[in-house]
């Protein structure tokens, strides 16, 4: 070839890009997908809240066992410890009269069907609270448990006060440990060398969850776009428009315009979804008083995108874009090997298999949390696209390793770019290709 042509020229990419975006949104299927995805993102919070409430309700229901405690008539308290004040007349949720007796035998022989005797005494290990009902009692064991518990809590409160512990101290002692509060970065980090060093690591469980969340986002982005890119390229090849297009625009501009156009569609879905999700969270908190901590984290954990500051979030976004670029170009190449509609399935399957391998590997690598595996996965594509930034944020690899990982990823992208520039046009013009990598490699050899 003596009149060298710049096969890498992307002149006209903006026109292909705009056409791709316009036609994507004019396509009913893609418009519907867009609306559905945004709706799912927007309603994810309320749905998670509703399901968590339903779960909690079911749990509480099963715990309470439908205790009916309104049938208690008299509660006789026999406090052999002398701790309780005889002024106690209310047992919280328990109906019925409360009265103190000095000896349980005074009433135990003449207990009615709706009466209970509670005996409080000491033994060598501490205090014992026993509930007694008559042989012909209508009171169930569950009701008896509730009444005993109510009295136990009054008894504990009283004995602590009598021991000189202040109200606030009692409150502190009885305060539960919340597991619903938002987890802060500082809570998650542990110092590797006893707090003296600077190197921080995310704890293993959280690392696995972060890895899973990030890999999921990468996988969603790839799966949303690859099928469209393959379909779109095949459609052009099938409709025999390729020759008409190739006298107006170079193959790289044609391919990259589609990839970037589709990237915009996916990014727009994510941005609109994020806005919708934020809005629904705000509305739930503002008008229903439901804090995000009541439902967040009940499924995938995407908080990695908000937990590490803007700079680190940019690393994550950069990795997603690089993954998108690579898989987008590969999808385009595979699309150019398709000759009929059935081929699209094969080509999409090929791309998705690689993406699935990346996703599942990231999941395993995250929960395995082995230093050597983390390092290798961060450096070797396609795994590195799914794991490298999380490994860095999790303190498993250094910034230098992350930089090396990016360099390797860029090298791979440049190789695919060069292959695309050489063979994309050839594959588009060839109507006898087999869908997949074989045709691409054969074209590389022939180019």
């Amino acid at each position: 070839m003596n009149d060298a042509e710049n096969i890498y020229s992307i002149r006209g990419i903006e026109k292909v890009f705009l056409f791709t975006v316009r036609q994507t949104f004019k396509n009913r299927g893609y418009l519907l997908s867009f609306i559905l995805f945004v709706l799912v993102f927007t309603l994810m919070g309320p749905i998670q809240y509703a399901s968590s409430q339903a779960g909690r309700g079911a749990a509480e229901k099963s715990m309470s066992k439908d205790v009916e405690i309104s049938d208690v008539e008299n509660v006789f308290v026999c406090d052999q410890t002398g701790i309780l004040d005889e002024s106690v007349s209310d047992l919280g949720s328990v109906d019925g009269n409360v009265s103190f007796v000095s000896d349980e035998s005074v009433v135990s022989d003449s207990l009615g069907k709706n009466d209970i005797v509670i005996v409080i005494k000491t033994n060598e290990t501490g205090f014992i609270i026993n509930g007694i009902i008559s042989d012909s009692s209508d009171i169930s064991n569950d009701t008896l448990d509730v009444v005993t518990s109510e009295l136990q809590s009054i008894f504990d409160d009283t004995r602590m006060k009598k021991s000189g512990i202040s109200e606030s101290d009692i409150e502190l002692i009885y305060s539960g440990v919340s597991v619903d509060d938002p987890v802060k970065e500082s809570d998650l980090y542990v110092n590797k060398d006893g707090g003296k060093g600077k190197e921080n690591k995310i704890q293993s469980g959280s690392y696995g969850l972060y890895m899973l969340g990030f890999a999921m986002v990468v996988f969603i982005v790839i799966s949303m776009s690859s099928s469209y890119i393959i379909t779109s390229v095949t459609e052009e090849k099938q409709s025999k428009l390729v020759e008409t297009l190739l006298v107006s625009v170079r193959p790289m501009a044609l391919l990259m315009g589609k990839v970037v156009g589709m990237m915009s569609y996916v990014v727009l879905v994510i941005i609109c979804g994020a806005i919708g999700s934020t809005l629904s969270s705000y509305l739930m908190e503002r008008f229903l008083g439901i804090d995000k901590s009541n439902y967040g984290g009940s499924s995938y954990d995407f908080s990695i995108f908000t937990s590490f500051g803007i700079v680190n979030t940019l690393f994550l976004v950069l990795s997603i874009l690089l993954a998108f670029l690579l898989f987008g170009m590969v999808s385009g190449l595979f699309g150019s090997t398709c000759n009929k509609t059935e081929d699209i399935q094969v080509a999409t399957g090929n791309v998705m298999t690689v993406a699935m391998v990346g996703y599942f590997s990231a999941m395993v690598i995250g929960f395995m949390d082995n230093d050597t595996v983390n390092l290798l996965a961060a450096l070797i594509p396609p795994f590195s696209f799914f794991t490298a930034p999380v490994a860095f944020l999790g303190g498993r690899i250094s910034g230098v390793i992350l930089a090396v990982a990016y360099v390797i990823q860029l090298v791979v992208i440049v190789i695919v770019l060069r292959v695309s520039a050489k063979v994309y046009r050839l594959l588009l013009l060839n109507g006898n290709t087999v869908p997949g990598i074989k045709s691409v490699l054969e074209s590389v050899k022939g180019a």
Binding site: D3, E5, K15, V16, R22, S239, K240, E243, V247
Partner: protein, 310 residues
Amino acid sequence: MSLEVKELFKKYGDKVVVDNVSFSMPGPGVYALLGTNGAGKTTSIRMILGMLEKDGGSVTWEGKPLNFDTCNIGYLAEERGLYPKYSLMDQLRYFGELRGVDRKTVDERIKYWAERLAVEEYIYQKKGKKQQSPDQLSKGNQQKIQFLIAMISDPQLLVLDEPFSGLDPVNTDLLKGLVREQIAAGKYIIMSSHQMEAVEEFCTDITILHRSKVVVSGNLNEIKKASGRVNLRLKVEHDISSFIRDAGVELITEKEYEYVLKVTGDDQANGLLKSLIAAGIPIVKFDLSELSLHEIFVNAVGDEAKEVQE
């Protein structure tokens, strides 16, 4: 302006598919690139237009490598198609914009060519009427839309690959008229077709490819002159078979005393004419002409071409 194609060469593996094809268009006009199926026409066109890498040779336009940056190209590909589901207006605008034409001019040209090609109803949606999607258009209408796409940038160089195939006679005449207008407007046109009569109507120069090689190339008139006037069409009112035999003229066909004959040249034809006049046979038609393009093609590529024609 001039187009220069020099020693185009392409091979796939060990198989040479285009072997040193050269021709030039020093001025506007129609150049015909002919050949049997698989002779290398489409591959040559793809290399000329920069769609395929060349293994050898060059293509220049005004001394610069030809591509869509150096020349405004319009191309009607042999394999025609449209995006099946996108609206025609969107597609036409897209192609116009890809060729660097601004939206206003694109819209004006769409309107102009839609009227000329009688395809307005498929491009402009009428109120309350559902528009046909491109894949519902007839083959002929799809072809006219493709021609519109080729013309949308008002190209300097127009490459028409099988422009009349699949068109009914009315639309063939319509398209021929438009091609004539483009010739008159001083456009450079490369035409490839199996319909020799249609090509002969327009072209001034030809290249015939056979098994990847050029077998005939040059100005069509000169090629015809070189082969002499050998076709004689003779119409009389009596049977003249004996005169034909005596003159040693080859009889091709005969129908109701109209004879199609093959002569060796002017002398043999005149000899036959003299003998008929001498015998007092009234002559209704005596038409001595050069080889047709069809014959030049068949002579050049032999039996294979006959199979293609059949």
